[in-house]
Symmetry: C2
Subunit: 282 residues, 2 copies
C-alpha cells in the first residue's frame, strides 16, 4: 500500500524502535526489558500494570542498565466522571502516574483522556481540561510531559471524549503549556482526512510528543484486542511516518499492539516478527 511519492526513507535499523510492554503482555516486565535489549530494540514504554508489586525506581534502574531508553509511561487520564469524588480520585491517580514516570525515568505520561457514558462529550472534554490543569503543577515539579492521545471514535462512549487530532490540538491550545502535547497513534487516526493539517498544527507548536504504530486489520473482530502487527492491515504506515517526520517529529516509533492472537503465541517469536515488520512496513 506504500505510495512511492509519499513514502518516508526506509528504516535501516532499530535505533528508533520502542516497544510498549503491553505488546508482549505475557512477559513480566523484567523479561520484557531483557528480551527487548537483547533484540537490539532501543526504547521501552512501560505500562503501569507491568509495575504492579515492583519498585518503580528499581525498574527504572534495570532499564537504564540494559541501555534501553524509557520513552514513556502508559497511561494516565480517565478524568471525566459523573461525580466530583470520582473526578478527584482520577486527579490523584494521575499524580501517582506522574510520580511513577519520574521514578522510572520516563519523560512522558500518555493520557487516555476518558469519557463518562451518559454524559455529553462536551462536558467530558471540559472535565479533561480541568483534570490536566489540576495535575500540571505536579508535571512541572517532576519535569514530566503529558501527551493527549486522541482515541478512535469507536472509544468515544467510555475511553476518550477526544477522538480526533483536531480535538487534541484544541485541548492543547486551551491548556497552552509547554508540557502538554499529543501522542499520535496510527490506529486511532489513520482514517481521518484532516490528519495532515492537524499534524502540522501540532508540530508548529512543538506538540508532537509521541508516535505509536500497529495496524488496522480488515476485518477487525474485536473493538479492543484485535490490532494488527505492522503490515498485516490496511494502514499506509510509511505515509503516516513521513507525515509526522516531515512535520519535524524525531522521536521513537513505538509499537503498541493489543492482540489476543499475538499474545497467545510464543513471545520470542513475536518479538522477532515485530523487528522484521518494523523494518519492512514502517
Amino acid at each position: 500500500m506504500t505510495e512511492t511519492a509519499d513514502a518516508a526513507e526506509p528504516l535501516s535499523d532499530l535505533s528508533r524502535l520502542c516497544i510498549h510492554t503491553i505488546t508482549t503482555k505475557p512477559w513480566p516486565i523484567e523479561e520484557a526489558i531483557e528480551k527487548y535489549a537483547a533484540a537490539g530494540v532501543a526504547g521501552i514504554t512501560v505500562w503501569r500494570d507491568a509495575l504492579k508489586d515492583r519498585d518503580a525506581a528499581d525498574i527504572g534502574e534495570t532499564i537504564r542498565n540494559t541501555g534501553l531508553k524509557t520513552v514513556s509511561l502508559c497511561r494516565g487520564g480517565f478524568f471525566p466522571a459523573r461525580t466530583e469524588r470520582e473526578r478527584r480520585f482520577a486527579i490523584d491517580d494521575n499524580r501517582l502516574a506522574i510520580e511513577q514516570a519520574a521514578s522510572i525515568g520516563a519523560p512522558l505520561v500518555v493520557l487516555v483522556c476518558g469519557a463518562a457514558p451518559g454524559q455529553s462529550l462536551e462536558v467530558s472534554r471540559g472535565q479533561i481540561l480541568d483534570g490536566i490543569a489540576a495535575v500540571l503543577p505536579d508535571a512541572e515539579a517532576a519535569g514530566v510531559k503529558l501527551a493527549i492521545e486522541p482515541l478512535h471514535p469507536m472509544y468515544a462512549a467510555e475511553r476518550s471524549a477526544i477522538n480526533t487530532m483536531a480535538q487534541a490540538n484544541a485541548a492543547c491550545e486551551a491548556l497552552n503549556h509547554p508540557l502538554v502535547g499529543i501522542a499520535v497513534d496510527v490506529y486511532h487516526v489513520w482514517w481521518d482526512d484532516q490528519l495532515e493539517t492537524q499534524v502540522r498544527r501540532a508540530a508548529d507548536r512543538d506538540r508532537l510528543f509521541a508516535f505509536h504504530v500497529c495496524d488496522w486489520l480488515s476485518p477487525t473482530t474485536d473493538l479492543l484486542n484485535d490490532r494488527g502487527l505492522m503490515g498485516e492491515g490496511v494502514i499506509d504506515l510509511p505515509r503516516l511516518r513521513r507525515l509526522v517526520e516531515s512535520a519535524g517529529f524525531r522521536g521513537f516509533h513505538e509499537v503498541e499492539i493489543f492482540s489476543e492472537r499475538w499474545w497467545a503465541m510464543d513471545q520470542d517469536h513475536f518479538l522477532k516478527q515485530i523487528a522484521a515488520a518494523y523494518l519492512r512496513h514502517c
Copy 2:
C-alpha cells in the same frame, strides 16, 4: 441524557416511525409488513436480502395495501474495488437496486458507499463519486433518490471511505445533483463535534434525505451486530433529532438495529419494545 435546552418536542404517536426490515431480521418480509402495520408503525425500509425469491412489485403492492409507506431501499453502494471489472459489477448492482426501489415504490436508495482494503481512502472516495455519477441517469429515469450514508470510522477499511458528514457533504457537492443527498444515522455520527455545522450544510442544500436511529451501547462488544435499542446506550437522541428537525428535516425516524441479542428474542416482544422506546427516548 436529554439536555432540556436541546430537546426536541416529545413524540406523541408513531406517525413518523419507520422500521428497517433488518431490524426484525428473523421475520420474512411478509410477516414484517403485517406486524409493523398492525402495530401502527407508519413506514418500512426494505433491505434487499428480504426481497430474495420475491417479486419486488408484489411486495410493493403488499406494503401499499397495508397503508404502510415504503421509505427507502437498503442498500446500494460498495463502489470501490481494486479492479475495473469489480467496479463495473458494482455499478450494475446499483442499477439493479434502483430498479428494485422503483418496483417496490421506494423513493430512495441508501448507499453504503464502500471501501477497498489496501487502497487509499482518497482513491476509494474518487471511485465512489464515479460510481454514483454512472448510475445517476438510471436514478433520474426511475425517479429514485440516492442517499450517501456516512459510516462510522470503524468501518473505513472495508465498508465506507465516507466516514463523516463533512465527507458526505463534500461528495454531494462534487456530484451536485438534486437526487443525491445524505442519510444521517445516529450510530455513525453521534461522536462528531462537527455534526451540527454539517447537518446545516446539508439541510441548506435540501440534502437531508433520511434519519436513522438506534443507540450506541457502552460497552459495545461487536463491531457490526451489537447496536442498542433507543435508550439502551449513550446517544442523546432528542438532541440529534432536534438537530436535524431544526435544520428542516420532516421525514421518517427510521429504526435500524443490527443486534444478535435482539434477533435472538421473540420479535413480537421486540416490536413492542421498539415502539415504546421510540416514544420514550427519541
